[in-house]
Chain length 414, copies 2
């Protein structure tokens, strides 16, 4: 609903951090400061967890100049801290301790606007709070702002954070292609890229070929079943062309029977949402290829830097991440709630985007896979259509602050 009286707002960050999540926070802060309908914007430490223990800071007070916002935008990971708290089911929420505490906190502090920057699981929080709000007799607008390097959220053309992760992946793949090409003996390099269920990040490795035609020999996504025999035949084919074969694989690669390729290497640990921690796919394949071909094989896991390499962030991504945060505030002020801000790619030859809210129920707990026409027939690479989709998202070098030749990141006074 639209509130006539001035009120306060709160913002939290949740889920796995990304390079761009602070740019979105900066966008939320910037638009809140610019609005005369919002009095104070609070920042909750560790998302909903911080709201439950009333651990919040006054962001309106801290961000007294543009330079601070710029530096926050260039700092990776969640400056407010993150959480993985899953709120209880909405049935009988009015008697639930967590919901009671949260709404007491909102009422006490006259908070009418709630912004939550996160991925799929965070939209679940937005959806639940919107659903139980009426029961507590407190009108409030809940708006989610997407964030995930995985690019697997429904409805939005792409997710803030994906472009920077994709840029880092394509960049280091290009560099590793230079590196691995120097020797003349047969060798295979297998690069494992993040992506539990979807291949968006692994697909980005193919961008390495855009400028000079040299990209990974093969790109295997979890959207297709992995088959060892075809894999070995693919490598044999590549060896006919050059001695140095580079392959990009998704950490979520699985066999036709559903077993994960890296299963033997993994601890089996899961997070609170039941997601398995994955790794070991490239290592497993390294062992298999070494056995089959007897050549030198190296496995490389790109690991954490994929989601925090601020020094190689995409200008397009950082700018859009900021804008989608601002757009969330504007939508909220216009009465939008129970929604997530989406990035819509406009029609036309030149790349441009708009921001639109969409119902959270159509996004939460859904997964957007790499579409069929983005993957080639053999299932061992991406198509030009996929390249055309990804390329504008990595465009431009984001501003990055250094001192002594090293990153100069912004920290909040917690």
């Amino acid at each position: 609903m639209i509130f006539k009286e001035k009120a306060n707002a709160i913002v939290g960050q949740s889920g796995g951090p990304t390079t761009a999540i602070n740019a979105t926070l900066a966008g939320v802060i910037s638009a809140s400061l610019a609005s005369d309908q919002i009095d104070v914007l609070y920042g909750a430490k560790n998302g909903v967890e911080g709201m439950l223990r009333e651990d919040v800071i006054n962001l309106s007070e801290i961000f007294d100049c543009k330079e601070k916002l710029d530096r926050l935008s260039a700092t990776p990971a969640a400056a407010l801290g993150s959480c993985r708290l899953k709120l209880p089911a909405v049935e009988n929420a009015v008697n639930n301790e967590k919901y009671i505490k949260l709404f007491e906190f909102f009422k006490k502090n006259n908070i009418r606007y709630f912004f939550y920057i996160g991925g799929n699981d965070s939209m679940d929080t937005v959806s639940k709070l919107s659903a139980v709000c009426d029961g507590f007799g407190w009108d409030m607008n809940f708006v989610g702002v997407p964030k995930t390097i995985d690019n697997d959220l429904a409805l939005t053309d792409h997710t803030p954070g994906y472009g920077s992760a994709a840029k880092f992946i394509a960049t280091v793949i290009s560099e590793m292609l230079c590196d691995t090409a120097v020797y003349t003996v047969n060798a295979v390099t297998i690069v494992e890229i993040m992506g539990r269920d979807t291949g968006w990040l692994t697909a980005a490795s193919a961008l390495a070929s855009v400028n000079n035609g040299i990209g990974p020999d093969y790109v295997y996504l979890p959207e297709r079943d992995f088959d060892y025999q075809s894999f070995f035949m693919d490598i044999e084919e590549a060896f006919k062309k050059h001695p140095n074969v580079l392959i990009a694989v998704s950490e979520g690669l699985h066999l036709a029977d559903g077993r994960l390729v890296g299963e033997g290497m993994q601890s089996g640990d899961t997070d609170v949402f039941g997601h398995k921690y994955l790794d070991g796919t490239a290592k497993e394949l390294e062992i298999a290829v070494k056995k089959w071909f007897g050549c030198k094989v190296r496995s490389v896991e790109l690991n954490l830097p994929q989601r925090c390499a601020a020094h190689a962030a995409s200008k397009t991504d950082i700018e859009e991440s900021f804008s989608v945060g601002s757009a969330a505030v504007e939508a909220s002020l216009k009465g939008k709630s129970d929604c997530m801000m989406c990035i819509i790619r406009n029609e036309g030859k030149e790349y441009s985007v708009s921001y639109m809210p969409a119902p959270v129920s159509e996004i939460a707990n859904k997964v957007k896979y790499v579409p069929d026409d983005f993957i080639n027939e053999k299932g061992n690479n991406v198509t030009q259509k996929c390249i055309d989709y990804m390329l504008p998202l990595v465009n431009g070098e984001a501003t990055y602050y250094t001192k002594n030749g090293l990153p100069d990141f912004f920290t909040l006074p917690f």
Copy 2:
């Protein structure tokens, strides 16, 4: 010796590639083009291997403008290709097929200047060729130019390539420190950094603390024996301060009895120089910490990007790498041979360097370890003296060429 007649020169690259090795090649090319004593500078494909099979290109012809040299400088890995060929012992060289072929090639092409850009093992090649030269009745100057991210060569203050690797390591460690700080539950992140025998690269992780005081909790180098009990006690100590512990370990970490920490994880494969391929140290420690503390543990291997991340190269390193290449040509023209160019750190408050040749025999097959006063008493971190030594080497951002937001690397027409 000093040659009065104009003659030709040859340059090769050898050993593991680095981010800066092409900047040194550009320096050699630049000084050769500027000299009226050198007619043609040839580039040998894959180092000595290319000279043996006469696979060379005319670099004087290819580099017809400065822009090409700048772009070469910004391209990682060895543009000429590399090799790991170890030349036979020098005894009875005049009857050895390899040496005969090489000197036939030098004579036929009137090559009097030989430049070899490489690490420790490559200086062995310079040393051997210098030693056998007389026997073939062909006067020639052999000059080595150092290159190794490992920084483990004797006499030189530091090695070209180290500064860029150190900068990349410190940068991603800073970023990972942001990333791992977002959650409130106890977690340990163990980052494995290259360095077989020496801890120079691992030490660079400590640079992350320079700007905001937040660095790795501990830094373990192979210069000290690793002890699991002290390691666990260190982590316990860190948990008293904060829930997120980040530790940097060298891939070459070993126990007091000499066994490598990562031994159980390794294939045992060695290269032609008998060096073991190492990895698995962080993985081994991940398992041990998980067992001991029962908390979340993640291991990260920085892997190949350490030696090829041109997008994050140090300006100081790239400029020095270029200059040391040029200095090698100048020394050679002045009659120097059987030597390697060294970088000398000048006295004075402001950081500056000079370039000086030193006898190869004092460098080849020797290792420069991190000195005792660079490591703290407990052996679990570096000292301020070490930071002061490393800091100027990572200074400045090297020029880096992009197109479509992606690296635009230079390739030679092989």
